[in-house]
């Protein structure tokens, strides 16, 4: 007869295994971050971050790409934040249960689970071909907007919903209309949650590549960083020029392999992206704590 393992022992073994797996996960993350910081350490200097890439020689930087990534996130935020927050408010406060709202929720879920390459292709069709703009930073920003809208809408909805009902009822009882209650009471109280959502969505947009390959393009014109006229073709501020971002650049130098130091550049650029992810996460935590104290009273 087989001897049964005593349940107490199984319990111990299972607990140990679970500790091990979870610990391994954290170690993996630390190794991940450590690896890139170590590999990219020689590249992470001011020159690498600010100079233009070289085409067939070693020693190029990532200046324009870094700028493009930041500018693209900014442009996309100008559209996706007001639109997404407004949609979130609608979902939290005005949407009545029914077919239309069901359909809207299904749309948002579908939109947020769409492969980013599919969103990029839609961008190629509409913002590149149909508008006749060709590959532009604006086209990329609009495509990333589609990627971020459902995320921002959902986090804003959650933030507005989590405001205590007593605050809302207090405002309504004082004779404020529903909209006045939303604009002056609910949204201010929901600001920490909304801002956290926006920062995390921006972080995602910052590292996005598949959406941008065929919308913002895989090249960047020679930029003149002293020219701040947004209508000029060489101005970095001109949104209607091709704009390769940092993440796209990592992909491109690996698939083309023209520069001899592609490895070092990819290591350095990856280190920059990982550091930005950390920065976006820390910023989100910090801001939500700070604003939570400012707007939310005792809520975290």
């Amino acid at each position: 007869m087989r001897r049964r393992i005593p349940p107490r022992l199984t319990d111990r073994l299972a607990t140990a295994t679970l500790y091990l797996v979870s610990g391994a996960f954290v170690v993996l993350l630390l190794a991940f971050v450590g690896y890139f910081l170590y590999k990219g350490r020689s590249e992470l200097d001011f020159r690498f971050l600010t100079t233009a890439p070289a085409f067939s020689t070693a020693g190029g930087g990532i200046g324009p790409q870094l700028f493009n990534s930041v500018y693209l996130v900014f442009l996309s935020g100008l559209i996706s934040v007001p639109l997404g927050v407004a949609a979130g408010i609608y979902l939290a406060e005005y949407a009545k249960p029914g077919r239309l709202t069901d359909f809207l929720r299904l749309s948002i879920e579908t939109l947020s689970s769409l492969p980013s390459i599919v969103i990029g292709l839609f961008g190629l069709l509409v913002f590149v071909t149909l508008t006749g703009w060709k590959f532009t930073l604006m086209g990329g920003a609009l495509a990333v907007t589609i990627l971020n809208l459902p995320v921002i809408a959902r986090t804003s909805e959650d933030a507005v919903r989590s405001v205590p009902a007593s605050i809302k009822e207090g405002s309504l009882a004082l004779g404020a209309t529903h909209w006045q209650t939303i604009a002056r009471v609910l949204v201010p109280a929901a600001v920490p949650g909304i801002v956290t959502g926006v920062i995390l969505a921006s972080g995602r947009a910052f590292g996005e590549a598949a959406t941008l390959l065929y919308t913002a393009g895989m090249s960047s014109p020679r930029l003149d960083f002293t020219n701040w006229n947004p209508l000029s073709a060489t101005s970095p501020l001109n949104p209607f020029r091709p704009a390769e971002t940092l993440a796209v650049y990592i992909w491109k130098i690996n698939s083309e392999g023209l520069v001899p130091d592609a490895r070092q550049i990819a290591d350095g650029a990856s280190a920059v992206l990982i550091l930005s992810v950390l920065a976006f996460n820390l910023l989100a935590r910090f801001v939500s704590r700070l604003l939570g104290r400012r707007f939310g009273g005792t809520r975290t």
Binding site: V21, S113, W179, N254
Partner: protein, 306 residues
């Protein structure tokens, strides 16, 4: 017959209503409905482009779905996409098989074993993993995993296995955090009743909590699968992009997103070759919609259990 006085008052009330309620309400309603319109627009545009393979180029849908013959630049071109479809299915299924045991363990750890460590260490770690861009995953796969596999198993290193491992890591946070939510949502009575019967913690987890949380876990698994199926660049960088059905784990392979990524830039709009890429994009859209419907169904079951 309303007198002018009453009409004036009514007008004022209307204007006040519009200023303090209607305008804001109308604005956010339009923004909300815009998301639906956007989704419909995307589906519409992709359907028109994607169906032109069948309607304009008169290829057969059966050839597209079930033929392994892919020779887009031959004199009599063939556009069978089965190789890419099989590649996508193999990659995402393997990724799921690798990832689920680890994600579930982490979810159990976070919710049942040590909520403190979970909240302070694992939760932030999971959030950072979600935020890491897919090209960075691809690059670490390319520069660390692929050489490692080449040394350990021979061959190219670019392989089905490499792609599945990278994907497994990428979907880990999705499955782990949704499963942890499912465990946390279980009523405390379940645990207490099980402990009161003398069960150990592990017995409680295995026999009580795991079955009860299953619908929520399945939702996480389906959404992880959706993410794996649609991932493009990280996979494309490590699978070798060889157009054939892989015979073993260490063979190079290709999938839907990779072929779209690579060929979209080299083909002219409106050619049959280009059209078939749009058909693949439409297929990706349909599949991700299918996953959402599936996730909703498992989610509904969860509500029924409670």
């Amino acid at each position: 017959m309303p007198n002018p006085m009453a009409r004036k008052t009514l007008g004022r009330i209307n204007r006040t209503y519009w200023k303090h309620e209607g305008l804001g309400r109308a604005t956010v309603t339009v923004a909300g409905l815009f998301l639906s319109v956007l989704t419909l627009l995307m589906a519409g545009f992709l359907a028109v482009k994607g169906l032109s393979t069948f309607l304009v180029d008169h290829r057969s849908p059966l050839e597209f779905l079930f033929s392994t013959k892919w020779s887009p630049d031959a004199d009599t071109p063939a556009f069978g996409a089965l190789i890419f479809i099989v590649g996508s299915i193999l990659l995402s299924t393997l990724a799921l098989l690798i990832s689920t045991p680890f994600s579930l363990s982490t979810a159990v750890f976070v919710s049942e074993i040590s909520p403190d460590l979970g909240r302070n260490i694992l939760q932030p770690a999971i959030e950072i993993f979600v935020g890491i861009p897919s090209v960075v995953y691809g690059w670490i796969g390319l520069s660390v995993l692929v050489p490692f596999l080449r040394k350990s198993f021979g061959g190219l290193g670019f392989s089905l296995l490499a792609g599945s491992l990278v994907l497994a890591l990428m979907i880990f946070p999705t499955i782990a955090s949704l499963s942890a939510d499912a465990f946390r949502a279980l009523p405390a009575d379940f645990r207490e009743a099980s402990y009161a019967l003398g069960a150990t913690r592990w017995q409680t987890i295995r026999k009580v909590l795991l079955p009860a949380a299953m619908p929520g876990i399945l939702t996480g698994v389906v959404l992880g699968l959706a993410r794996a199926f649609g991932e493009a660049l990280a996979v494309q960088m490590v699978i070798g992009n060889m157009i054939r059905i892989p015979g073993k784990l260490t063979d190079a392979t290709v999938n839907l997103t990779s072929i779209i990524t690579m060929d979209m830039g080299n083909t002219a709009m409106g050619t049959p070759w280009n059209d078939v890429l749009w058909t693949m994009a439409l297929l990706l859209l349909l599949i991700s919609f299918l996953f959402i419907v599936l996730a909703r169904m498992t989610g509904r079951k969860r509500r029924a259990v409670r």
